[in-house]
C-alpha cells in the first residue's frame, strides 16, 4: 500500500484499525490516533485493545489462526454508513477482511438499499473514490477533489430536502382543495337528496315516481363519485385508517349480493355465491372496506358482462391458531380485458378505451382504490382475463381470527321514543339543509329552534336551554367551531353538540371533537344514521350512563383475540402490582423522595392506560413529571389523593365484578 493511500485511509475511515496476519497494527484512523495518542504502528493489537463487549472476543482469539490477509476493525457506525460501498469493494477484491458490528452493517444494507431505490446520487462519489483506489495513485490534490464531491453531495441533500418540503406543501394544498370541493358539492347534494326523498312521500303518480327514482339514482351515483375521489385523496394523504373489528365474512359477501343483485338481474345475469364452511365465523378487520372492495370488483364484473354469470367463491387457504388467510375469487363471463390493459388497470383514471368509457360510466378510480385498500390490509389482488371469455379476480387477505360474540349486530330498529318532547337547536346557514333536518325530525314530536349562524345560536343559548344542538361548521359571521368554543368555555353549557358537516376528512372531524363537540354527522346523511346519532347522544344523558367509567376493558378484550385467559391474567397482575406501586409512591411522598415517585408513576403508566382508567391520565402524568419549579406541593398532594382514591375504587370494582385468574 502506498503512503498516499494510507493517509487517505486515515481520514476516510477515522475509526479504523488495520492489523496484519500477526495481529500487529498496520494502520489506524485519525480518530483512533486522537483517542490513543500512544499507539504506534507495529504494536500488538490484542495486548493494546480489549474489544470485549462489542461482541468480537471470539473473533480476536481466532484472528491469528484464521487470517492470511489484512483485517480492518471498525468501531463506529460512522465508517459503515458513509463507506459501506468502499468496504464492500475492498472485500470483493480480497484485499481486506472487514470486521465490525454485524448489526450496524445490516443497518447499512437498509440505508444502501434505500439509497438505490430512490436513485440517489450518493454512490457516484464512492465510485469515484474506488476508481482512484484501483489505480492506487492518489495525490493530496485528488483527495481534496474527492472531499469537494462529497460536500457537493451534502448540498444535493439540502436541495432534495427543499424540494421535498415544496412537494409536501403542494400536496397539502391539494388536500385542502379536495376538502373544500367535497364540502361545496356535498352541501347542495344533501339538499337535493332530502327534497327528492320528501317528494317521494307525496303520493306521486307512477310516471312521477319513475322520474323521482331516476333523479335519486343519479344523486346517489354522484355521491358515490365524490366519495370515490375523497377516498382516493384520503389514501394519498395517509388519512385512511382501517378499523379492526370482528365481522362475519359470509354476511359481508351476502350484503354485496343484496346490494348488487338488482343490477345483475336487470341484465339477466346469474349471481352465485359459494362459501367454504371452513371460513372462520369471526375475523378481525374492516368490514365496510372489505365490502367496498368486493362491491368495486363485483360491480365491475356486472358492468362488463352482458350475458352468463357472476360468481363469488370464498375459501380459506391457510389457517393457524391466530390467523386465517382467505381467498376470494370473483369470476364473470364478460367482455374480458386485453393484456395491455391488465398491466395498467390499477392506474388511476383508467378505463379500457374511450368508446367503452362512453358506454360504461365511472371515474376510473375504482380499481385504484380497491388496490390501495387491499395493500393497506397487506393483501394481494391478481387478475386473469381473456378477451371475450371473462375475467377472474383473486383477492387474498390474511385476518386475525376473532370472537363471534364480539360481532356487532346492526340494529335497524331504533327506539325513537326518546325523541318525544325534546328541544333541539339547529344551527345551519343553508335554508334547504335546515329544512331537510327539520323534516327528518318533525314526525317525532320534537321542538325545533333554528339559528342561521353561530353568533345567533350563542344569543339564543343565553336565554334558553336545549337537549341537543346540531351545528353546521362553515357558516357566515360565526362558524360552528368558534360557536362551540364560546358555548363550552364562556357560557359553560354542556348540552351535547353534534357537528353537521359536509367535510369528510378525519382531520376536520378531529378538530370538531377537540373544540368540545360530542359527535358528528356527515352530509348528505341517511335518515336512519342521522336519527341514530341524535338518539345515541340523548341516551348518554340518561343518569345511569353519565357516571364516568372507572375503567374500560375494551382495549384488553380486543387484544385478547380469542385467548380467554388473557384478560383475567392481566387483571390479576394489575391487582398484584398497582396497589403495591401506589404504596411505594405514598411512602416516597412522606420521605420526600421525588425521584422514586417519578419513577414509579412512570412504571405504572402502561397499566393505567391499558385498563382505560381515563380519569387518572393527567394525575399520573403530573406525578411522573413533577418538579419543584413548575408545580406546587399542593398539586402533588391533590394528585396523590385522587390516584389513591380512584385506584382503590378500581381495585374494589374489579375484584367484585370481573373474572380474575387465581
Amino acid at each position: 500500500m502506498t503512503k498516499n493511500v494510507d493517509n487517505t485511509f486515515k481520514l476516510l475511515l477515522p475509526f479504523h484499525i488495520i492489523i496484519n496476519e500477526d495481529c500487529k497494527i498496520e494502520s489506524f484512523g485519525i480518530s483512533i490516533e486522537n483517542l490513543f495518542p500512544s499507539l504506534k504502528l507495529g504494536d500488538d493489537f490484542c495486548s493494546n485493545f480489549n474489544i470485549d463487549g462489542i461482541g468480537q472476543t471470539e473473533d480476536v482469539i481466532n484472528l491469528k489462526s484464521l487470517i492470511n490477509k489484512p483485517v480492518i476493525l471498525s468501531f463506529n457506525d460512522y465508517d459503515h454508513i458513509h463507506f459501506a460501498g468502499l468496504i464492500e469493494f475492498l472485500q470483493q477484491e480480497n484485499k481486506f477482511i472487514f470486521i465490525g458490528n454485524p448489526h450496524l452493517n445490516a443497518r447499512d444494507i437498509i440505508i444502501e438499499k434505500t439509497i438505490k431505490e430512490i436513485d440517489f446520487n450518493k454512490l457516484t462519489s464512492i465510485k469515484g473514490l474506488l476508481e482512484v483506489f484501483k489505480n492506487k495513485q492518489i495525490t493530496n490534490l485528488e483527495f481534496k477533489e474527492l472531499l469537494v464531491k462529497v460536500s457537493q453531495h451534502k448540498k444535493l441533500n439540502k436541495e432534495l430536502e427543499k424540494a421535498l418540503k415544496e412537494t409536501q406543501r403542494a400536496s397539502d394544498s391539494k388536500e385542502a382543495f379536495l376538502a373544500n370541493m367535497s364540502h361545496e358539492i356535498r352541501t347542495p347534494l344533501n339538499g337535493i337528496i332530502g327534497m327528492i326523498r320528501k317528494l317521494r312521500k307525496e303520493n306521486p303518480t307512477i310516471t312521477q315516481q319513475n322520474y323521482i327514482d331516476n333523479a335519486l339514482r343519479a344523486c346517489k351515483h354522484l355521491l358515490s363519485l365524490i366519495n370515490n375521489i375523497l377516498d382516493f385523496s384520503k389514501i394519498k394523504a395517509g388519512e385512511l385508517n382501517l378499523e379492526k373489528i370482528d365481522f362475519n365474512l359470509e354476511d359481508e359477501i351476502d350484503d354485496v349480493k343484496k346490494i348488487l343483485i338488482s343490477q345483475a338481474s336487470d341484465k339477466e345475469l346469474i349471481f352465485e355465491i359459494e362459501i367454504d364452511p371452513k371460513v372462520e365465523n369471526a375475523l378481525v378487520g374492516d368490514p365496510s372496506r372489505i365490502r367496498q372492495i368486493l362491491i368495486n370488483i363485483t360491480g365491475n364484473a356486472i358492468k362488463f358482462t352482458e350475458k352468463g354469470y357472476i360468481k363469488i367463491t370464498c375459501k380459506p387457504i391457510e389457517t393457524s391458531t391466530q390467523f386465517q388467510t382467505v381467498e376470494i375469487k370473483i369470476k364473470d363471463t364478460g367482455i374480458g380485458m386485453s393484456e395491455k390493459y391488465l398491466a395498467r388497470i390499477f392506474n388511476k383514471f383508467q378505463q379500457e378505451d374511450d368508446t367503452s368509457s362512453r358506454r360504461h360510466q365511472g371515474t376510473g378510480l375504482g380499481m385504484t382504490i380497491t388496490k390501495e385498500l387491499i395493500d393497506l390490509m397487506n393483501g394481494t389482488i391478481s387478475i386473469t382475463s381473456e378477451k371475450g371469455t371473462g375475467t377472474e379476480v383473486t383477492v387474498t387477505i390474511s385476518f386475525p381470527i376473532g370472537n363471534p360474540d364480539n360481532i356487532e349486530i346492526l340494529d335497524t330498529n331504533i327506539n325513537t321514543s326518546i325523541l318525544e318532547g325534546k328541544s333541539i337547536l339547529i344551527v345551519e346557514d343553508n335554508e334547504m339543509n335546515r329544512y331537510v333536518a327539520i323534516n327528518t325530525l318533525e314526525p317525532y314530536n320534537v321542538n325545533i329552534t333554528e339559528a342561521q349562524n353561530g353568533e345567533r345560536a350563542v344569543e339564543i343559548l343565553k336565554n334558553q336551554t336545549f337537549d341537543i344542538i346540531l351545528m353546521d361548521l362553515q357558516m357566515p359571521i360565526m362558524g360552528g367551531e368558534r360557536a362551540t368554543e364560546i358555548i363550552r368555555n364562556e357560557l359553560k353549557i354542556e348540552t351535547p353538540i353534534i357537528a353537521l358537516t359536509a367535510n369528510a376528512f378525519i382531520k376536520e372531524l378531529e378538530k370538531c371533537i377537540a373544540v368540545g363537540m360530542n359527535n358528528y354527522i356527515i352530509k348528505p346523511f341517511e335518515e336512519i344514521h342521522f336519527l341514530k346519532i341524535i338518539i345515541k347522544e340523548l341516551t348518554k344523558l340518561t343518569p345511569q350512563d353519565s357516571i364516568i367509567q372507572l375503567y374500560d376493558l375494551n382495549r384488553l378484550n380486543q387484544m385478547a383475540n380469542g385467548n380467554v385467559n388473557f384478560v383475567p391474567d392481566m387483571l390479576k397482575l394489575f391487582l398484584n402490582l398497582v396497589p403495591k406501586s401506589i404504596e411505594i409512591i405514598n411512602v416516597s411522598s412522606k420521605n420526600n423522595d421525588l425521584e422514586t415517585i417519578r419513577k414509579t408513576a412512570h412504571k405504572i403508566k402502561p397499566s393505567i392506560n391499558n385498563l382505560g382508567i381515563v380519569s387518572l391520565k393527567d394525575d399520573i402524568l403530573l406525578l411522573e413529571k413533577w418538579d419543584e419549579q413548575n408545580h406546587s406541593m399542593e398539586e402533588l398532594e391533590n394528585a396523590l389523593k385522587k390516584v389513591n382514591a380512584v385506584i382503590h375504587q378500581v381495585v374494589d370494582a374489579i375484584s367484585m365484578k370481573e373474572k380474575i385468574s387465581q
Partner: protein, 139 residues
C-alpha cells in the same frame, strides 16, 4: 414472523404480558418473558433471534444487558424499548449494537410489527445477497 424466537425483558410485569399477547396476535408463538436482565442472560443458550429490552430497569440496566447479550452472541437482534421522552439514551444504545428502539406509548404495538418485519428483511438480505462475513471467516 412465526418462526422468530423472541425474548421480552421488562421489569413491569403488566407491560411485559401486554407485549407478549400482542406478539401472539401478530403470529409470534415462540415468546419468552423475563422480569429482569439476569434471568434473560441465563437463558441465552436457547438462542433467541430477537430480544426486546427495556432501557430502564432497576437491577441490571438495559445497556448492561445489551452489552452482555452482544458479547455472548452478536447475531442476536436487540431492540431497546424506551419510555416516552427518553429517546436519547436509547438512540445511543444503537451505537452499542442495538438494532433499533421503540418508544412506549399508544403506537408501540404497530412499531413492534414494523421492527420485526425489518429484522426479517435484513435477515433475508444477509442470507441471500451477502453471505455473512463471519460465515466466510469462520468457515
Amino acid at each position: 414472523m412465526n418462526d422468530l424466537k423472541i425474548f421480552l425483558v421488562d421489569d413491569d410485569a403488566f407491560y411485559l404480558n401486554i407485549l407478549k399477547q400482542h406478539l401472539h396476535n401478530i403470529g409470534c408463538e415462540k415468546v419468552s418473558i423475563f422480569e429482569n436482565g439476569t434471568d434473560c442472560l441465563n437463558q441465552l443458550q436457547d438462542k433467541p433471534d430477537v430480544v426486546f429490552l427495556d432501557y430502564s430497569m432497576d437491577t441490571l440496566s438495559g445497556v448492561e444487558v445489551l452489552n452482555k447479550i452482544k458479547r455472548n452472541d452478536p447475531n442476536i437482534f436487540v431492540v431497546m424499548i424506551s419510555a416516552q421522552g427518553d429517546i436519547q439514551p436509547a438512540v445511543n444504545s444503537l451505537k452499542q449494537g442495538a438494532f433499533d428502539y421503540i418508544e412506549k406509548g399508544d403506537e408501540d404495538q404497530s412499531k413492534i410489527k414494523e421492527v420485526l418485519q425489518k429484522i426479517i428483511d435484513v435477515r433475508d438480505l444477509l442470507d441471500s445477497s451477502k453471505p455473512s462475513i463471519f460465515k466466510r471467516l469462520f468457515k
